[in-house]
C-alpha cells in the first residue's frame, strides 16, 4: 500500500507492506539511518522520532499509522551544516560515547525544550525516562541538555529555537 507523510519538511510517498514498521521505512526506504534500532520493543528509545511533534518509538509505529503525519528525525533538526544547539551541547559536554543512543536522546531533548524552555533537572530526567544509554552513565547527557536549554534560552528568536507546531 502507498503511504505519504512529510519527513523533515519534505513530502515522501512510499510503497510499503501494511505490517512495515515506520523505523524500517525511515531507515531502509528513505535512507534516514540516524534513527537507530536497539531493542525493537519500546524499551530503549534509540528509535525516537517526532510524530506530529511528539516523541514516539518508531519501532512501535506501523508505517500506515503515520500516513498523513508530520515526522521529524534526527536528520531534520540541524540547520544545514550547523548542528542544532542540542547536538552541539552533547558534543561539548561529552554526552556521547558509542553514540548509538544519541539520536534518540537528542530527539527526546528536542521535544522537551520545544515545550518547556527552562526545565528543571527532574523535568529533564522525566523527558528522558524512555531512553537508555549503556555507556555514559547519564550525568553528561543531563549536563548536555542543561547546557542546550541555557543556550536556547539566550537566543529566543534564532532559527535554532525549537519552533512551535
Amino acid at each position: 500500500m502507498k503511504v505519504r507523510f512529510r519527513v523533515n519538511r519534505r513530502e515522501a510517498a512510499v510503497e510499503v507492506d501494511p505490517g512495515a514498521r515506520l523505523l524500517d521505512v525511515l531507515r531502509n526506504d528513505l535512507h534516514l539511518t540516524g534513527t537507530k534500532e536497539g531493542c525493537g520493543e519500546g524499551e530503549c528509545g534509540a528509535c525516537t522520532i517526532l510524530l506530529n511533534g511528539r516523541p514516539v518509538n518508531s519501532c512501535l509505529v506501523l508505517a500506515p499509522q503515520a500516513d498523513g503525519c508530520e515526522i521529524t528525525t534526527i536528520e531534520g533538526i540541524a540547520d544545514g551544516p550547523h548542528l542544532h544547539p542540542i547536538q552541539e551541547a552533547f558534543v561539548e559536554e561529552g554526552g556521547v560515547q558509542c553514540g548509538f543512543c544519541t539520536p534518540g536522546f537528542v530527539m527526546s531533548a528536542y521535544a522537551l525544550l520545544r515545550a518547556n524552555r527552562s526545565p528543571t533537572d527532574d523535568e529533564i530526567l522525566a523527558a528522558l525516562e524512555g531512553n537508555l544509554c549503556r555507556c555514559t552513565g547519564y550525568a553528561k547527557i543531563l549536563a548536555a541538555v542543561r547546557r542546550a536549554a541555557a543556550r536556547l534560552a539566550l537566543k529566543p528568536d534564532s532559527e535554532h529555537t525549537p519552533e512551535a507546531e
Binding site: 501494511p18 505490517g19 519500546g42 510524530l51 516523541p55 519501532c59 509505529v61 523527558a127 524512555g130
Partner: protein, 286 residues
Amino acid sequence: MDYLRVTSEVELAAALREDGAVFLAGGTDLLVKMRAGALRPRLLVDAARVDSLRQLSDRPDGLWIGSGARLEDVLASDAVRRDYPLLAAVLHSLGSVQIRNRATLGGNLANASPAADGVLALIAYDGKVALATQTGERTLDVSEFVRGPRRTALAAGEYIRSIWLPAPRSDWVPFFHKVGRRQALTIAIASVGGLLAERDGVIVDVRVVAGSVAPAPLRLHPVEDLVVGRPVDRTLLATASEAARKAVAPIDDVRASAPYRRDVIGDLVARFLRQASGHTAGGASP
C-alpha cells in the same frame, strides 16, 4: 495481513465484524506481540483517528474518557489532575513519554495484563466501561470487565467506547506505589493503589487495589472491610498487612517469586494506610 484505517465508529463497528479483525489503538502492546510472533492478525483495524473515541468529557456526574485518548492527553487534562490524582500518578509511571504518546486506556484494559497500571486506578475509582457493537451499547464495572491474563468480557465484534469514572470524594487521599526492577519502563512486580478518607483520626472510606498479584488487578475488599471505622495505629497496620497477604494470589514468574510478592503487598498496604492517613507512629518506612 491487511490494514484498514477507519475514521468513524460506524466504520469501526462494521470492520470489527470481519473474520480475524483486530482493533489497533496505540499499538504499544499489539506491535510487541506481533513482533514476538504471539499474534498474527488477518486484519488490523486502526481506530486511532476515530475522533469520538479520543474525547474527554468532564460532567457533573463524573469524567468520561474516550478509550482511544492518548495517555499523555489524559494526563494533561485538568479534570484528571484536579479530581483523579491517583489516575494521574499511575499514568505518570506507565511506560515513558514515548509510550504514553501512543498508548491508550482502551488498550490497557483490553490487553488485560495482571500488571496493567491503568486498570488498577480505574478499579480504585469504581470505573465503568461502555462497550459497543454495531447494534448497541452495554456497561460493565471495570472489575467485571477484566477476567484474567488476556481475558476480558469483550464479545466478538465488540469494542471499548469509553470509560466512566464517577465524581470522586473531595477528601480522598491517593497513594500509588509500584515495585519493579527499575524506575522507568517497569512492569510491576507488585503494586498497590489506594484512596483513603479520614475523619477525626478514623478511616471513614477506603479503596485498595493490588496489581501483579492475581489474574487481574484486584480490589482488596477484606482489607477495606477491616480498616473502615478504625483509627490507624500499629495494630491496624499489622492486621491490614496480614489481610492483604492473604487476599492476594500471586504466582512465581521470571520477575519475582510468589512469597516475595505477597510480602511486598503486605508492606505496601501498611505504607498506604500510614502515608495516606498522615500517621507517623507506625515505625520506619518499609
